[in-house]
Amino acid sequence: MTGGSTTGDDGAKAPSSGPQEPRAAWPLWEVFVRSSRGLSHVHAGSLHAPDAQMAVRNARDLYTRRNEGVSLWVVPATSIVTSDPDSKDQFFESPQGKDYRHATYYTKSEGVKHL
């Protein structure tokens, strides 16, 4: 698998209809930033770096120049496993039509306090 495709949150594979891509000189890393204590790490973007240590340092310089983070994760883009974007309709079908999983489905209790 080649790198170079995941600033989209949509999978680590190169676009199927895109031109063939030679192997990038430095691997691609996906960067996740925790903006403050109590919050999850959130995907911020990607970068190229020769190894993990450089990837963390570059991620700091690239994505936290204004105190945007208190913690960083870098993940080799090739290690990310994704759902198949071509079959997303079937794959995410199950919760469709199951409105009763949401509180808003239950309307008879409207006006009742603390419910």
Binding site: S5, P15, L47
Partner: protein, 326 residues
Amino acid sequence: MTTTAIDAGSRVDEDTAGEQLFNELIAQDSRIEPRDWMPADYRKALTRQISQHAHSEIIGMQPEANWITRAPSLKRKAVLMAKVQDEAGHGLYLYSAAETLGTPRDKMTEDLIAGKARYSSIFNYPVRTWADIGAIGWLVDGAAICNQVPLCRASYGPYGRAMVRVCKEESFHQRQGFEILLELANGTPEQRAMAQDAVNRWYAPSLMMFGPPDEDSPNSQKSMEWKIKRFSNDELRSRFVGMMVEQVKVLGLELPDKEIRYNDETGRWEHGPLDWNEFKEVLAGRGPCNAQRMERRREAHEDGAWVREAAAAYAEKQALKYAQAA
């Protein structure tokens, strides 16, 4: 029927379904993501636009970096360094976005260095005095913001996301430029004259940053249909002129254009004629600093080769050690 024919048939079906979904997403004002089907021309137009944008950020570091040693105080040096570092960051966000379309970053860098790729013509003008750093921040970054804010809603997801990040950081650039000019405008007569001179020289080039007039901009139409661009070149330029007209009053300086007026009928700001021949010349590589900028970029790339090679060799060695220990 041969296997090849079946494959070809299913590919046609895939394309038809893909195109239908693409058109629906664009019509709904939704976003296109990297793995989605997209027309070849859409991919090509975006790759060109985003990579040119990235190159502009990278080349744009040069005129300002040249002034770090000459910035008048430690504070100004620190601010300018932060700004130049931001430009590098913006370039990298944009290269990442462009890569999602299938062109590797190394290829884009090669194209730039080989002179095959374009970047914004504005960076081919010389930065003569410290006041120019102020005028660049105020006018050039101001024009860039005007152009870039609507791009945050570009139909291609990764481009829009990169632009959100860029725009957040860009507003500091414009304010620091304004502040430099404001201090000079309220300084000695010489400083004031220097500020006015810088505004005089950067005004027209910054207006031309929005690109040729609508009637000479054949790609714009398609780009607006695809919702990459949201407003035409002239529309954005007019909006920018309207903002500058007000802001220049605070500076107590003048814009070098006697023909600026608000047209009640069209609801647009109008400005004097711009020298589009100059624009074409600079774009074609014959501007005052094109050769210098390209040479510096090549030199930096070649001088940095040993660092890239050493880092790659070290990473390889470490990986080998790790594998042997496991």
